[in-house]
Amino acid sequence: MKKGLFEKAVVLVLSGVMIFSLSACGVSTSTGTDAATAATGTTATGTTATGTTAAGTTAAVSSGQKKIIKFFHRFPDEPYNSFIEGKLHEYEASHPDIQFDITSAQNQDYKEKIKVVVGGEDTPDIFFSWAGDFTERFIRENLILDLKPYLDKDTEWKNSLLENQMKIYTNSEGMVYGIPFRLDCKLFFYNTELFAQNNIEIPKTFDDLLAACEKLKAAGITPIAFGNQEPWAGLHYMGTLNQICVPDDVREKDYNPTSGEFTDPGYVQAMQYYQKLLPYMTDNPDGVKPDMARGTFAMGQAAIYYGELIEIPYIKADGPSLKFGLFNFPQIANAKGNQEILTGAPEGFVISSKTKYPDECVEFLKWFLGKDVGTEQCQQIGWFNAAKDTTNGLTDQSLIDGYKVVSEAKEMSAWLDNALYSTVSEEYLEDVSELTNNSVTPEEAMKKIQAKAKEAQSLVKSGTTSQ
């Protein structure tokens, strides 16, 4: 009957289309290592259903001589994507021998993809990577290029970068493995009007903060906007509190998976301080997404928000009429840790140790992550890179203030979930989540973390690969 014939016809047509578009595609999308084959496929790409590729294979002339650099980033949304690609194309224009093969993926998917492609022949030459264990596991496999020699050779470059930020991308053996693309730190944002209306001054101590929250609550305003459905939000509080309550050297030992124990009473104390804040936070934080919580702050429904420097553009977008200021995490009296550390770590790019063009990649990053681009970057997308003096021409006061804090910070720290070994990090995330909805006590939580830390010690020792 008709169906059989129809089906056969469809099969034929579609097979034809598939084979045709495949031959056009298969050539132009071949992995970047095949510069020669890319040359033959250039003009045919126009006929695929979706038009020309974004990978820039439209270069017509003698593409066989071009150096193709694979660039993988994790900012596919606007306006960041356009900014990044714009800069890449700008560099291509001024360096005709270089061509970028650009791919990007969103945060979570990025993590999946990067682990699948790194180490194979498809490894990107330049890719985004978080500081801390995330990159250090690649380093253990010798997959990352050491940038220290390049920095030592070009001292002008070295001195143009903020030291406190570069420190985060330096490992314990002195290897510099990445250059920051955007600086970040955690600060308390507050609604200046609500504070003024309720006669509240910027809290200097933790008790001041609690008192301020009490006043706000009495006035019927949600004191602190907080969403922990993505548990990293609570962990940011935890990270700061750990720094304040536990001495630096103990913390350093504990965060290292080969020696982690977490028996210091400061950790329990940190959790108890966190619990003190809970009554003043958004109801049922475990069911609220962090950006939802930020939204309530931006719309004036909550007075305080513990947020990141990079969230300033988002807050402005969500609540254009909001008047807000920033203050540091307040001091806790008699705490045994270090209250001078600013929680936050920059995020940046690393170069694969397997790249064919290490020098070209380094040269590119020098420019892309340097002062000139940095100045444009903060004006166009509100993010700072690690180059010094990029605020010329910047008019946004909150950004300027934020930059001051982060560039003058004595010391930065990695985010807790990135700093810890993955299984310990996961345990911490789960426990803070349960602490938030009162399903567990600080003592019970720390016991579980201690157990995981012990297990991690043996896991790290037994495997020379990955962890």
Partner: protein, 277 residues
């Protein structure tokens, strides 16, 4: 005979139940559409309220930002995969059920086992296989795995259906001199229109919405499909909620529209080609 009154009450109750279920299905969807027409601020203030001005711009934004580029790819990948899934599966089910061949049961169990495999587990090995065959980052990189992963379920459905087709029809055809291929195309396929339609819808659903493989195996923006496009709305620390909702609506519409169109055909097929004897 049952009393008319009793019959009528149960009729009314059952209809009410069905309508109630419709409300349960529609309510969340309406809420989503309602909120996709608002601004983000309005959403935060009151999610149940009507928008002040209907923000059709959200839809245009969603389309421009992430979807138009990927639409053609989704159509191509889905169409090709679907055709081959149906083709291979029906042939397989035919071989399994109409011949009483030796080992059919074992082969069936093997195919069945294919359904039990988690896609993520196959991710890394598949990646290595695709690279080895040099089809990574091409349309084949997703089409072939889609076909392979959907054959088990489709065979399962078709087999159940084919089993219920009476042997007499075939025996008559054999006596008329048909060979097995002709029996397949002229007898089995026409009668099986309903199950082909069901399988088409069910598989199209999977392929159109599949994300994991598409994300990892398709690097080139020119090849990527709609689910990946949707992800671009989900920012790092922010989600542009209203645009995302608009994007969700747009990406779900083609399948829903297609289904409503095909379902008429499908009903026709049921009433026209039903087994008459």
């Amino acid at each position: 005979m049952k009393s008319v009154g009793h019959h009528n009450i149960s009729k009314v109750l059952l209809n009410l139940l069905c309508i109630l279920l419709c409300v349960i299905i529609f309510a969340p969807l309406c809420w989503i559409i309602l909120n996709s027409l608002k601004t983000n601020q309005e959403l935060f203030k009151d999610s149940l309220a009507m928008p002040q001005i209907v923000q059709l711009g959200n839809y245009i934004k969603a389309w421009k930002l992430g979807l138009y580029r990927y639409f053609g790819n989704s159509v191509l990948v889905s169409a090709v995969s679907l055709v081959f899934i149906l083709l291979f599966s029906s042939l397989l089910a035919y071989g399994l059920t109409r011949f009483r061949a030796k080992g059919s049961n074992i082969i069936f169990i093997i195919i069945l086992g294919g359904m039990a495999l988690s896609e993520q587990v196959a991710l890394v090995p598949l990646y290595k296989i695709l690279k080895a065959f040099k089809i990574y980052n091409t349309y084949f990189a997703v089409i072939l795995p889609y076909i392979a992963f959907r054959i088990p379920f489709t065979v399962f459905l078709m087999r159940a259906f084919f089993i219920s087709i009476p042997m007499e029809l075939e025996e008559a055809a054999i006596m008329d001199g048909y060979n097995s291929l002709q029996i397949f195309t002229k007898i089995i396929v026409p009668i099986s229109k309903p199950i082909f339609a069901s399988c088409a819808i069910v598989n199209l659903n999977f392929v159109w919405n599949e994300f994991l493989f598409a994300n990892v195996f398709l690097n080139n923006k020119a090849l990527q499909t709609i689910p990946i496009g949707l992800m671009t709305f989900k920012g790092d620390l922010k989600i542009d909620y209203t645009t995302t909702l608009a994007g969700l609506v747009i990406s779900s519409l083609p399948l829903i529209i297609l289904f409503f169109c095909m379902s008429k055909q499908f009903v026709k097929g049921l009433t026209a080609g039903a087994v008459k004897g």
